[in-house]
C-alpha cells in the first residue's frame, strides 16, 4: 500500500482538539447502547500497513471509533512492520479486511476482493514520486545514477514498483544503477532519509508527500519531486475473497462508503485529507497490473 494515509492532517489547534474530544464523548454516549450488541456480533479485525502512521494515535482512535460506531462491530486495528506481513495475514484469513497497497492487491488478485477505494481529490488515484534533495540539480532519473536510493517497501507500488519498472524499462538494474538501495518501511521515512541526506533520492507515495508537505513543511520542503508517475489506483481496502460477502464486510463496506456523510467519518477523512471512499472497479489497478506483468520473472 503505497498510498498509506499519513500523519494526522488535522489542524492541531486547541479548539479543534477540544471540539473533537467533545464530539468523541457525545459519540460514546449516543452509541453506548449499541455496545453490547456489537460484542455479541463479534469483532472486525482491520489491518493497517506500517506506513499508516502508527504514531498518529489520534487518527487511529478516531478511525476505530467511527468504524465501531458505523458497523456496530468491535474494531480491532492491527498493524505490522511490513506490507508483506499484513498482506499475508489478510490472504490467510487472519484479518477481515486491510488497507493495503495496489501492488499486493494485484499480486494476490485471485484471493482478494475490493471493499472500498479511497478518493483523493475526488478520484481513486494517486501518483508515485521520485524525490531528491530540494537543492539538487537533477532533471531526470539518469542524474540519480550512483545514488544511495531509499525505497519504502519491496511490496509497495509507489515506494518501489514504479521506480523499479522505470529502471527496467531503461534496462537498468537498481542494484547496479544505484550505489546502494535501502528499504525504510515507511513513506515518511523515505522523505526523512532524503531530507537528511542519508539517501540522495527516494521513491515515495505522492499522496503521502503532498499531505506531509502541509503537516511537516520543514521536513518535506527539504525534498522535491523529480519525477511524478502516471495516475495509478489508490491503495485500496481489501478483504479475502471468502469473506467478501459476510455481514461484517458488508457492514464495513457500508461504513466506509458512507463515511463522508457522517460527521465522525468526515472528521476522519479530514485527518486523512481524503474526500471519501468509493466502490471502485478493479480496473483502476490495471496500470499497476501492467507493471507487475512487465516485471514478471524479474522480481
Amino acid at each position: 500500500m503505497s498510498g498509506a494515509p499519513p500523519l494526522n492532517a488535522v489542524d492541531r489547534t486547541w479548539s479543534r482538539r477540544s471540539a473533537m474530544r467533545l464530539a468523541g464523548i457525545a459519540a460514546f454516549c449516543a452509541f453506548s447502547a449499541d455496545h453490547a450488541q456489537a460484542q455479541a456480533q463479534g469483532t472486525i479485525r482491520f489491518g493497517l500497513t506500517p506506513v499508516f502512521l502508527t504514531n498518529d494515535l489520534e487518527l487511529l482512535n478516531s478511525l476505530q471509533a467511527y468504524l465501531a460506531h458505523a458497523t456496530g462491530y468491535e474494531i480491532e486495528l492491527i498493524t505490522r512492520r511490513t506490507y508483506q506481513e499484513v498482506t499475508a495475514l489478510l490472504v490467510s484469513g487472519q484479518l477481515d479486511a486491510a488497507w493495503i497497497c495496489g501492488y499486493p492487491f494485484v499480486h494476490y488478485r485471485d484471493n482478494l476482493e475490493l471493499v472500498a477505494v479511497p478518493n483523493w481529490n475526488g478520484k481513486p488515484l494517486y501518483q508515485s514520486y521520485l524525490i531528491v534533495g530540494a537543492d539538487r540539480e537533477a532533471t531526470s532519473l539518469a542524474y540519480l545514477e550512483g545514488d544511495i536510493h531509499a525505497f519504502s517497501d519491496p511490496d509497495s507500488n509507489s515506494g518501489y514498483l514504479v521506480t523499479r519498472t522505470l529502471l527496467y524499462q531503461q534496462e537498468r538494474q537498481p542494484e547496479i544503477f544505484f550505489r546502494k538501495t535501502m528499504f525504510t518501511y515507511g513513506h515518511r521515512n523515505v522523505i526523512r532519509a532524503v531530507a537528511s541526506g542519508l539517501a540522495q533520492s527516494g521513491s515515495v507515495d505522492g499522496y503521502v508527500w503532498e499531505v506531509m508537505r502541509e503537516i511537516e513543511p520543514d521536513l518535506v520542503n527539504r525534498t522535491r519531486p523529480l519525477r511524478k508517475s502516471e495516475w495509478l489506483g489508490f491503495p485500496p481496502i481489501a478483504t479475502s475473497r471468502v469473506l467478501s460477502h459476510s455481514p461484517r464486510i458488508e457492514a464495513l463496506t457500508k461504513a466506509l462508503l458512507s463515511m463522508a456523510e457522517k460527521p465522525e467519518g468526515e472528521r476522519v477523512l479530514r485527518m486523512l485529507r481524503l474526500t471519501g471512499f468509493e466502490a471502485a472497479d478493479p480496473s483502476i489497478f490495471d496500470g499497476i497490473a501492467a507493471k507487475v506483468a512487465l516485471l514478471r520473472g524479474v522480481l
Binding site: 535501502m182 525504510t184 526523512r192 537528511s196 541526506g197 542519508l198 539517501a199
Partner: protein, 482 residues
C-alpha cells in the same frame, strides 16, 4: 627590589604579605578545585556518554550487522536525548573498515564513505576527550558482536554547559578570594597600624630628644593595658628622667666649678684689694696729720679715690662673673679688660705674664653674649696659667673679622693631654668629668656648642699650645648654660 620592599613601612608590608599569601593560597585552592571539578565533570560526561552509547549500540547492533543504513540512522534519531543539558551534537556509526553506515548529520558525514581521518583523530581511546576550543567532548565505542569488531560509534557532545560551569566556579572563586584577600589585608593594615602606633609615639619623642628637648611620654599616651608598649614607654621615660638628672647635675657641677674658680680668684682679689688698702690707710694717716695742707689733702684724696676705683673694678669683675645673667648684653672691650684683671692675681702668684692683644674695637653683636664668652675665656686663661710653668707667659689674642670673633689662648705648657683635648673638641663625648678635672674645659665646650662656635687646639711653632674659640656672628639664641 627586596631592599625597596624592606624600605616600605610595616603598615604596607604586612597587608602586602597577607595579600601575596592569600593570592598564593587561593591560587592553589582554585587550581585544586578546578582540577577536581574537571575530573568530576569528565566522570559525569563519561557516564552520560556511556549510557547514551550503550543505548545506541544495543539498538543498532543488528542493523550494523546487516549494514542497514536506514535502521542505523533511525536508531540514532530515536536515541537522541532531549532533556539533558549535555546533548550529543553528532553521532556517527561506522561499519567495518570505518565506512560510515549512518550519522546524525548525513550531509556532513556522507553515508557509505570512509570516515574523515581528522574526525577520527579527535577521539582518544575509550575515555572522553574534552576540547575547550570546540566546546565539545569526544567519545567513541566499538561495536562488538560475538567477540568480533563489527563497527564503532563516534559521539560528539556539546559540553559548553560544563565549561560554563567551570567558568562560573572560577569566577566565584576569584570573587570570593579577592574579597577575602582585601578583607584580610585591611585587617592586617589596621592591626599593624595599631601595633606600630606606640613606636610612632616613641619615635616622635626620640626625635625631639635628639633635637635637645627630651620630654616624658605622658600618661595619656600610655596604652590602656599593661602591654609591651607600656613597658617600652616606661623604660624610655626612665631614660629621659636619668638624662634630665644628668643635665641638672652638670649644671650644678658647672656652678660649683664657677664658684671654685672664683675661690681661686678670691685670694688674688684680696691682694688686689689689699694693695690699694695700704696706700689708702697711708693717705688717711697723711690726711689726719697734714690735712690742713691743701696740696697734701688734694693728693691724698686723689690717692684714696684711685685706690677705691681699683677696688670697685675688682669687685665688679667678680660680681659679673658670679652673676652672668647680668651680662646678657653683647660682648665689649671692657669684658677683656675685666678678664685681665681677674686673672692677674693668679698670674702674679705664678710670676707669669699675660701677652694681651686685641686688634680692634668690638662692635656690639647680639650673637656674642658677654657672659658665656667671658666665662669660656676665663676658663681657658686659668687652664693656660695652670699649664704654663712659673715665670712663663700666657697669651690672649682677640681678632674680630666680618664673619666671626676669634679668641686664641696660648700657653707654654708641655702640650694638652688627649683626654683634655677630647673634652674640648669631641662633641659626641657627653660624659661629664667625674673627678672635677677638666670640668672647666667641659664648660667651654658646652658654651661653644650653644654659641655654635668651633674649638681648635694646635701646637704653634715655638712650642706654644693654642686653643682657638671661633664664634660666628649670626647667633640668635643666647646661651643659658653659663
Amino acid at each position: 627590589m627586596l631592599s625597596r620592599l624592606r624600605r616600605l613601612p610595616l603598615t604596607v608590608r604586612v597587608p602586602m604579605m597577607v595579600a601575596i599569601l592569600m593570592v598564593t593560597v587561593s591560587g592553589l585552592i582554585s587550581e585544586r578545585v578546578l582540577d577536581r571539578l574537571s575530573k568530576t565533570q569528565e566522570t559525569y560526561l563519561q557516564r552520560l556518554a556511556s549510557a547514551y552509547l550503550d543505548g545506541v549500540v544495543a539498538s543498532i547492533t543488528p542493523s550494523v550487522l546487516r549494514e542497514d543504513s536506514w535502521e542505523v540512522f533511525d536508531g540514532i534519531e530515536r536515541m537522541k536525548p532531549s532533556a539533558d543539558d549535555i546533548l550529543p551534537l553528532e553521532t556517527v556509526v561506522t561499519g567495518k573498515k570505518q565506512i560510515v553506515l549512518a550519522s546524525s548529520d548525513p550531509m556532513a558525514r556522507e553515508t557509505l564513505r570512509p570516515l574523515d581521518p581528522d574526525f577520527i583523530g579527535a577521539f582518544n581511546g575509550a575515555g572522553v576527550r574534552i576540547d575547550a576550543n570546540t566546546r565539545s567532548g569526544y567519545v567513541r565505542r566499538d561495536i562488538i558482536y560475538q567477540n568480533q569488531l563489527i563497527g564503532a560509534v563516534y559521539a560528539v557532545f556539546d559540553v559548553s554547559s560544563l565549561l560554563r560551569e567551570r567558568r562560573q566556579i572560577l569566577a566565584t572563586l576569584f570573587t570570593t578570594n579577592t574579597l577575602l584577600t582585601a578583607f584580610l589585608g585591611l585587617i592586617g593594615f589596621v592591626t599593624v597600624r595599631r601595633m606600630v602606633r606606640p613606636m610612632h609615639v616613641l619615635e616622635t619623642h626620640m626625635i625631639d630628644a635628639a633635637a635637645g628637648s627630651s620630654t616624658l611620654i605622658a600618661d595619656s599616651e600610655f596604652p590602656a593595658a599593661n602591654t609591651e608598649a607600656a613597658s617600652v614607654y616606661r623604660a624610655y621615660n626612665a631614660l629621659v628622667q636619668s638624662e634630665m638628672e644628668r643635665q641638672v647635675l652638670a649644671r650644678q657641677l658647672a656652678e660649683e666649678e664657677k664658684l671654685s674658680s672664683l675661690g681661686r680668684l678670691a685670694s688674688g682679689m684680696a691682694h688686689e684689694i689689699n694693695n690699694p688698702l695700704g696706700g689708702l690707710m697711708n693717705a688717711v694717716d697723711t690726711l689726719r696729720l697734714h690735712g690742713e695742707r691743701r696740696t697734701v689733702r688734694d693728693s691724698s684724696i686723689e690717692l684714696i679715690q684711685r685706690g677705691l676705683h681699683g677696688i670697685r673694678e675688682v669687685v665688679e669683675a667678680a660680681l659679673a662673673t658670679y652673676r652672668p645673667e647680668r651680662l646678657a648684653r653683647p660682648l665689649a672691650d671692657q669684658d677683656f679688660a675685666d678678664l685681665r684683671l681677674l686673672v692677674r692675681p693668679e698670674l702674679r702668684r705664678k710670676q707669669q705674664r699675660l701677652d694681651y692683644h686685641i686688634d680692634r674695637t668690638i662692635d656690639p653683636e647680639p650673637g656674642w653674649p658677654a657672659g658665656p664668652i667671658r666665662q669660656a675665656t676665663l676658663n681657658l686663661l686659668l687652664n693656660a696659667a695652670a699649664a704654663t710653668p712659673e715665670g712663663g707667659r700666657v697669651g690672649l689674642q682677640v681678632m674680630v673679622t666680618p664673619g666671626e670673633l676669634e679668641i686664641a689662648v696660648s700657653d707654654q705648657g708641655s702640650g694638652m693631654p688627649d683626654s683634655a683635648r677630647s673634652i674640648l673638641s669631641d662633641r659626641t663625648n657627653k660624659q661629664i668629668p667625674r673627678d672635677g678635672s677638666g670640668l672647666g674645659l667641659w664648660i667651654v665646650r658646652e658654651i661653644a656648642g650653644d654659641l655654635g662656635a668651633a674649638i681648635t687646639v694646635s701646637r704653634e711653632p715655638g712650642s706654644d699650645t693654642v686653643v682657638r674659640l671661633s664664634v660666628p656672628r649670626t647667633i640668635s639664641e643666647v646661651s643659658k648654660v653659663a
